[in-house]
């Protein structure tokens, strides 16, 4: 049975019975799509945010750092850092304490970058939307490529001279980090169902306006843009679609959850999957506000190298998705 059948029922009832719109008209199509997608995503988000609140409670970034620094990992730390990046949200606000904390505990610069690259690209809200709108297969491929990009990007950036390219103040501060410190908000073993629930609702409420706008625009495209509108110009054989989508997206900054519903509508109308994904990844993974804050941590040269590596990685993933899907 389709888990989401009740949501389709509700939106059919609302659009065709309550609003008395004619089945098959542009307006009815768009509205039906809008109500159904919004309900489905709202439900999925609540569930995943609840699960993530539990994970974050037991595994805050302070603990991850201690875990990564606890022993020699022989390269596995890149994979671990990128995977942790996928489940931990990262606000560029915390860039400075993040670098000081990681480097100060003796975690290599490459591993630090592995975390930093994957964190914005893969997050649970994006995963839910991708799974709901594009299916599980594409979502899994996306998550794995996001982690792989973090690992490879981290390995490339591990070659930089830390002393030369990381701000001297950051390095001085990181010398004073006590690595054995236990965070004082260390969770006790007790379960905090109420706390997780509050957090899940709060997070969902914060994301929902983006989703409504995204789904709304997506629904408008769905109902009004003629089928295969983009096919003549943007078919996946056109090699330039991926780089163009990436470059256009870098100065834009948005939440993944706002972009994904629009992407889906565009893909249905013939935009190549790889170009749509490259656009989304560049919007969330590379942004000017982030660059401004990271500038306080590293030299222009390293910052440019970091953006360069991620941009190229995004394009490669874009081409790969074009071939696979």
């Amino acid at each position: 049975m389709d888990l989401f059948a009740p949501f389709q029922g509700i939106s059919d009832w609302l659009v065709y019975n309550v609003l008395q719109l004619e089945k098959g008209s542009h307006l009815a199509d768009s509205l039906n799509f809008f109500v159904y997608d919004s309900l489905k995503i709202l439900f999925l988000l609540l569930v995943i945010n609840y699960i993530m609140a539990i994970i974050r409670y037991y595994l805050p970034i302070e603990k991850i750092r201690l875990f990564l620094a606890s022993r020699k990992w022989y390269g596995l730390d890149y994979v671990l850092a990128a995977s942790f990046g996928a489940i931990t949200p990262f606000c560029s606000c915390s860039s400075i304490p993040f670098f000081v904390g990681f480097l100060g505990t003796g975690i290599p610069i490459g591993v630090t970058f592995a975390f930093l690259i994957t964190s914005p690209l893969v997050n649970e809200a994006a995963v839910v939307l991708l799974a709901g709108l594009f299916g599980w297969k594409l979502t899994i491929v996306y998550v794995l490529s996001g982690i792989l990009l973090g690992v490879i990007g981290g390995l490339i950036l591990s070659k930089v001279n830390v002393r030369k390219h990381i701000n001297a103040d950051i390095l001085t501060l990181s010398k004073n980090v006590r690595s054995n410190i236990e965070s004082s908000e260390n969770p006790t073993a007790k379960l905090a169902w109420g706390l997780w629930w509050r957090e899940a609702i709060q997070l969902t409420r914060k994301l929902f306006p983006y989703i409504l706008i995204g789904v709304g625009l997506g629904a408008a495209i769905h109902g009004y843009v003629p089928q295969s509108f983009f096919e003549q110009t943007l078919h996946s054989g056109a090699w330039w679609t991926v780089p163009l989508a990436t470059i256009v997206a870098v100065p834009l900054y948005s939440n993944a959850v706002g972009v994904i519903p629009i992407m889906q509508a565009l893909v249905i109308k013939g935009v190549p999957v790889g170009a749509a994904f490259a656009f989304m990844m560049a919007t969330v993974g590379l942004s000017l506000p982030e660059a401004l804050i990271l500038k306080k941590v590293m030299s222009y040269k390293l910052l440019a190298l970091y953006f360069g590596v991620v941009t190229i990685g995004i394009m490669i993933i874009g081409y790969m998705l074009n071939i696979l899907f």
Binding site: R65, S94, I96, P97, V100, G101, N176, E182
Partner: protein, 83 residues
Amino acid sequence: MTIEVVGTGCPTCKQLYALTLRAAERIGSETKVEYVSEAAGMKRLMELGLMRSPALVVNGKVAMVGFEPSIDAIKEKILETSK
């Protein structure tokens, strides 16, 4: 009680400080709110073993990490930690 808002100078940190001042007003009795920012804020974060900013610290104990838009929720966290 002593309430510290520890940040790195980011906009969210300043915002949390403003909200914490109002939360402290609601609590009323004997509260002192300090804003620890920039280099001093960084040092304090490291002392506390934290890697995210802003942080809300009550009587030397971490009450909350990250931002919270609700004054009442901030007030509740302060009271909970000061107990």
